[in-house]
Each structure stands twice: as C-alpha cells, then as structure tokens.
Symmetry: C2
Subunit: 478 residues, 2 copies
C-alpha cells in the first residue's frame, strides 16, 4: 500500500511551514549536558508535548527523577515524553523513538551563524544545532501526523512514541522507563516493531537502513609506582617508571593494520558469508569516501569490502590517551607516579563485554608479569555495551525498503554502524521485536560538530519516507 | 690552614640572628616563574645588594634586558647581582654562584604553613620556600662575610659573586653575562676556581662534593593523520590511528630495566673503571635510600653500585607523556588526530645532544617506516645540554674535602648528579677553571616541593663549611 498522493503533495506544499516549525524547535537550546540549559530541555519537552497534543496524540510527560552529578550533587532530569495514537487491533503498532535534547554549541566554537537560529541556505542546507540530531527526524513524524490530523485521516498503523531529553548525556533514566513501559499495561506494550531515526546515511547520496551496531567495552589500565611524581634526572634508570611499563602494555594491544592482538578476541568473530560480502560490495561507499571523511589518505585497506567490514563487521581497538602523564605543550622532565592508559574495543557478535573483559585482563596481567617490573598494574573495566545485529529481511525492514524505493526511487544501502546507539538494544531486549534504524540525514550533517545541518530535501523527502514507511508496514504480508 | 676558632664560635653564637636573616629573605616571594612576582625578584636583588654592601662587598646590579614570553610579550628580567671583595694578587680568587629566585608556592598546594614565612621547628627544620634552594646557601656566604666584616678580618681569598634571579626559569640572560664578564676586564676574569652551592646531599647524613652532572636532550615526536579528531566507532579499524603508531614507537625506546634501545646510544659510554667502582661502593647510599626517596620498592637494581651508576654514570630515557591525546578522567572514545610523544634522554660523557639527535631521528624514522602507516611522523628536538664531569682530585675539591673533614669530621661522598645544573657548564666553559658543587642541604629538603626546608644544623654547620673551605683554598699546595 503506497502512501496517498495527497500526503506526498501535502508535504511538498507545506515544506516552508515545516521548516519554520523546525526553526522553532532549534530555537530552544535544549542542551542536556549543561546544567544551565536543563530548563530549556524541559521547555523543549513541553513544546513537543503541545505539538503532539495538537495533532491528536495522547501524551504523558514522565518524571525521571534526579541525575546524580560527578560531584555528588543532584540535578532534576528532564521528563521523557510518551505518546500514543490509534488502538485498532487490526493494525500493526509501531513504536517510534527520538530525542529532543541536543549537543552543546557556541558560536565561538566555529559556527558561521548562531547555532540556535535555523538558517536556510540557498543550497538547501538548514543549519542549526539539532537540525539533524535529532529534532529534524522527530519533526518528520510530526509532519506525518499533521497531514492525518488536518485531513481527518486515520493513520495506517497505531503509533506509540518515546521521546527523551537525555540522549546526548547517557540517556539517564531511560532504560528503567522502557523496561517498565514494555510490561503488560505499559505504554509500549504490544508494539510490533520499533523504528529509530537517529543515525545517518553513509554518504550524501544513498538512503540507508541500518541493521547492526558495534558494541563497546572501555578499559583504563593503571600503572603506579612511586608515591609522587619524580624528577627524571634524579630517578631516571634508577626506578621502574610507570610510563615505560604502560607504553609497553599499550603497544601490545593492536597492530597497525587494526588487528586486535589480545588472544581470543579476533578468533571469536566468524568469517563473513558470501551473502554478507555481497551486501558490502553493493554499498555506495568507497575508500575515497572514507579518506574524504577522515580528511587524509589514511585508509588501512585498499579494498572497499575490507574497509567497510573494518568499520562495521569486525571489532576495533583504539588507544585514546593517557591520564596522569605530562600532557601539556613544551617540555617537562617528569616521571609520572601513576598513569592510566585508556582504550576501548568496539565489539561485534558474538562478542560481549562480559566475554571480552577476562581475555583483556588475563592478557594484560600476563604481559605485565613478563616485564618484571616492580610497579603495580590494575586493569579497570569502565563500561560497555553489547553489539546488536538484527534480521534485515524482517517485514519491518521490507516496509522501509519499499518506502525507500517509492520515495527515492532506489534500493537503500543496508549498513551496520561502527558506533553504538544503546537505546536500540534497550528496545530490542525489552520488547523482543524487530528494531529498524531509519536515518533521515546525510553522512556529512556534522551531528556533534559545528554548523550542524539537515538538507531541505532530506527533511522533506525524509518526511515522505517516514509516512510511506507506515503505509508499507500496513501493507506487509507476513 | 683551618678556619679560625673565633669564626666557628661566631657562627654558633650568631645562629639565631642568621636564621632571622634567612627568614627576612624567605619573606620576599621572589618567584621568577610568575609575572606577578617579578617585582619581588627585583626587591630580593636589592635586599641582597644591601646585605652585601653592608659587609664590605663592592656590587653591581646588571640589567639583563627583557624576557620574551611564550605569547610573544616582553617582561623585564630581574637584574643579576655581581660582587667582589679583595684583590690581593697573592691570594686565590674564588667565584661564588647562587640564585635568589624561588619556585612558585601556595599554601593550598599542601604546605603546612605559609610558604613565605620561615617556620623554625623544634626538630631543627627551617621550613619555607627558598630556605634550601637557594637562599640558605647564599646567606651562608653572607654569614661568612659577616664574621670578617664584624671582626675587621681580611678574607683568606679574594671573592667574586654571581647571584642571579632567573635560575628557576631557565637562567634567562645569564649565559651572555657570564661569557662577557669572564673576558679580560670583566668582573669574573681571573677567578681561579668556581664554587656553586645549589644541590643536595645524597641522603640526610653525609656531606657531598659533586663532580659530574648528566646532560639532557629532549624530543617530541609528532604523529598526525586525520584532519580532525575522529569517532572510534565510525573510524576504528578503518584508518591508521596516530596513537597506535605513536605508542608503537614510544615502546621501542627503552627497556624495562632502563637500557636505551636506540642503537648507538648505550655503546657510546665507556665501561666504568675499577677506581670509579670504588667511589660508588663508598657512597653512603643504599637501595633502601632510593626506595624510601621514591616512596615505593621499585628500584631496578639489586646492587648498590648498579643502582647509583644508573643514576649518575649511565644515560637514562624517560617517557614523559603525550600531548593531544585524551588526558582527562573518565572515558572518551576519541581517535586523536595529532599526538606528540615527549621523552628525554639524560646524557653522560662523551654523549652530547648533537651526537645523540641523529641517532634518535634515524631510529624513529626507520621504525616508523616498518609500521607501514599512512600517517606522518615528525621528530622534533626540543632542547638539550651537555653533560659535565670534572677532576675530583683538583685542589678546589681537595680544599672542600679538608673543610668537610674539619667541620663534619668525615670524608665527603663524591657524587655525580643525575640531573643538570646548566650554569655549571657555562662557568666551566667561559672561565676554563675547575668548578666545585658544594651542597649545603640534605637529600630530603624538598627543593621544588611543598614544605621545603633546610635543617638548622645544615645552615649553621654549612656556614662553617663554606668559610672553612675558603681557608683551605688559601692553604692548598698546588
């Protein structure tokens, strides 16, 4: 069932009004990571609540309690905004997720215009903080609802909404809410599938459906020796230096070509099937795209499939830095007393933080023993999250593929993301249904960067995509 | 010729007055490293000028011009204070060096009392910034002068003084002054030897004469790749990561037991002679002393001679830190775009920065090539200084040994310092005479640390030592 032509025309003829509304949303600086803007996040929740109510959605603002700050203080969390519309047992029920908080932004950071004033450029860029992450997608859903409300049309599916205001700050409080509301009697109970629009196309050309995410496990390894920082003139070649030990350990973790050297970690991952290779071969992405995106010709692989699998299909280990050593400019001849090396491993199935942690700890402790150092080593496992891969042939994905063909007149790329979107797993685990990641924006939107933008065509055609997806859901033959 | 008993008695009976005068000096916060205190350094110069003039020394405050700050701004340098007393051609002429500036200090740093109020403790500790580094030793010379002035006694030698106010900030301007004043007609011309009292005993028990210093050569190695920091989820295992390359390089520089792995560096140093080994064997210092000083049982060597030679007789390489990587607490999943690894090598004869630099650069570039990374490497040589070793059987040292026997009733330890005192080389090169390092304070004085102290007995007996040294100089049979 394609979407009604009337809907597609409505979106085109109301494009300017939709962009104006996006401007209203961007104007609220709902930065969840800055205490001074916490009220704006709450204001944003209320604004969105009014918008949803005005198009017939039943809503509920849920108090999530307090956030515990690093200094032990408390800060009130912004409410989560739940919504539902339609309860026809003959229709499918789709749960939509989005977030209305944004990353920090200041003009001084290098923005060409005020981050909280949406600027419509002639080339179609709609520039403003939150335009693509994630107010644009949320307003895409609102635009779809607007059509059905204005035209007194029933939606083709029942909808449930979960909009949060803490995504950019760890989604504090959301997990418990999702688990609770997924129980019988809860607002999310009975959802047949989930759709999350909070990631991006691989490039600027080809729409994407995402069926996998890498997990993460983060480590801090602490090496300590002297009771205080020492002078390298007085103690150099006299004592075991924590930095010497730490650098030796960090140098054993990953090869220059990205292979993880911790025994057991690589071996856990099955080789790709021919079917998988075909998916990667089809992806509209090249080594040149990777190098343009990185700003330098530093791709490890010469082969496109290897490169994309390196990002999506295999685990990776990155060395992030060292805490406690000299990190300033210039020269300081210190022997730091205690240094902590930070690294993380991106995980793919069947790896989990629980499976990887003992391998890392055993390896580091064994290698440290070989150093015969008199310093002390502690391996700290900071946090982690499981990887996620779902069935991209599920009807939820088939509906999105059909919608993409209808709106963009092409097949979407099927991708796995190298990063994590933890809420995906929360929904998958709590509801036990298929989750689809259906991005609206392009790969160059600069979500967490300066001059964040959403292209007009992505917003408008994206609205059509979201609406058409709902009609295709209603049409799928399971 | 021993010092007159009258002198020794004078020092004992005026001890409290001397300590009070040390308190007056400590009360002037002459921190050369803080622009806001530059006036206090100048005030300190004038205070010292008045003290010297009052005991009959002819002085000259020398304007050293401006200091160029890192931001390109200019700050007036404090004056150097030159002095001379006596010009008897039949006497030896001794050039004395000291500095009247101090390290920064704030009570909040962890001091038990105001750093700029000298606190006299019952156990004999005189606690205050500059007490041991280096106002105590300067005032030791002043005490010696006080006796000769009060008793209208001629000094046993001619004295020249070079007191500076920028030692803790790189001795800006001093090199040129020393070179100029060492020329015929200059204030330092004709000095027969130099005595510098600006280092410390190895321990808390045994007086020390120092005849060697390690040099230094400091490197920053820069590895850069992407045009900006990247997200490890998106780019992990896709691009060559600068941190992976840098850690690999830094891990190749030094072994856990302190051996430098850069080919050619260790090989340059001759093995110790039996005579040298005997000096180290005699030193009143143990593995336990090293470990107590480091605050942990982390000594590399089990053997005392190995341990002390590691500090004094062999080069060392310390990894200080990394600039540009993640250095905060917590977890951040960044791939830093450009990282700079800092390390330095302490040098011993015949090593010099000029000889070592090409070995380091060649080695790092060769090892980087083996990594087959597409990132870029730059090896930057930041600064350096030559090592110094002098003849510890010279009459200048013999006089100090005799003085030590007379005042402390024991042989001094003959040491080489692991660190650098660049002015030593400046005097040695400019005057071509023997330089003696004759410390006043103990190894636990905490010169650059909190609760810096000089023990009352080191100040008072140290004053006797300095005076007796001058009498022994006059007595030496060359």
């Amino acid at each position: 069932m394609p979407a009604p032509t009337e809907f597609l025309d409505f979106v085109d003829s109301n494009a300017d009004a939709f962009i104006k509304r996006l401007g209203d949303a961007v104007a609220i600086p709902s930065i969840s990571g800055e205490a001074a803007h916490r009220e704006d996040v709450e204001k944003m929740a209320k604004w969105l609540d009014e918008q949803l109510t005005a198009v017939g959605v039943e809503t509920k603002l849920v108090d999530l309690g307090d956030q515990t700050l690093p200094d032990g203080g408390k800060l009130k969390l912004p409410p989560a905004l739940l919504g539902r519309i339609g309860s026809d047992p003959k229709k499918k029920t789709v749960l939509l997720y989005g977030h209305f908080d944004v990353q920090p932004a200041r003009k001084e950071d290098g923005w060409d215009s005020d981050p909280f004033t949406l600027v419509v450029h002639e080339d179609g860029r709609l520039v403003g903080r939150g335009s693509t992450d994630d107010k644009g997608p949320i307003l895409g859903w609102l635009n779809v609802l607007q059509y059905h409300f204005d035209h007194k049309k029933d939606l083709p599916v029942n909808l449930k909404f979960c909009f949060e205001g803490m995504e950019e700050s760890g989604s504090d409080g959301l997990d418990d809410l999702v688990k609770k509301e997924s129980q019988p009697g809860g607002w999310f109970h009975g959802a047949d599938c989930v759709c999350i629009s909070d990631n991006y196309w691989l490039n600027t050309r080809t729409p994407v459906l995402t069926y996998g995410l890498r997990g993460l496990t983060y480590f801090s390894i602490h090496v300590s020796g002297p009771s205080r920082d020492l002078h390298s003139g007085v103690f150099g070649r006299t004592v075991h230096e924590p930095m010497t030990d730490l650098i030796a350990l960090m140098g054993k973790l990953v090869a220059g070509d990205g292979r993880i050297l911790i025994p057991g970690v690589e071996e856990m991952v099955p080789p790709p099937t021919e079917e998988e290779k075909a998916i990667y071969e089809r992806l509209d992405y090249s080594i040149e795209d990777i190098e343009e995106s990185a700003g330098a010709k530093i791709a490890i692989a010469d082969d496109k499939i290897d490169a994309l699998m390196g990002r999506m299909r295999f685990p990776s280990l990155s060395l992030h830095g060292i805490e406690g050593a000299f990190d300033g400019s210039g020269a300081k001849t210190v022997i730091p007393a205690k240094v902590s090396g930070k690294f993380s491993i991106r995980l793919v199935p069947p790896q989990t933080p629980e499976l990887i942690e003992p391998l890392v700890t055993f390896f580091l402790e064994s290698e440290f023993a070989k150093l015969k150092s008199k310093n002390s080593l502690t391996v700290e496992h900071l946090h982690g999250g499981k990887p996620w891969v779902t069935d991209h042939n599920h009807w939820n994905f088939e509906a999105a593929k059909a919608a993409t063909r209808a709106v963009y007149n092409r097949e979407p790329d099927l991708t796995r993301e190298g990063g994590s979107i933890p809420v995906t797993l929360t929904f998958a685990d709590a509801l036990g249904v298929n989750v689809l990641l259906l991005p609206m924006g392009r790969g160059d939107d600069g979500a967490h960067s300066t001059n964040e933008k959403l292209d007009r065509s992505n917003f408008i055609e994206g609205t059509k995509l979201l609406g058409t997806y709902l009609y295709e859901i209603a049409a799928v033959d399971q």
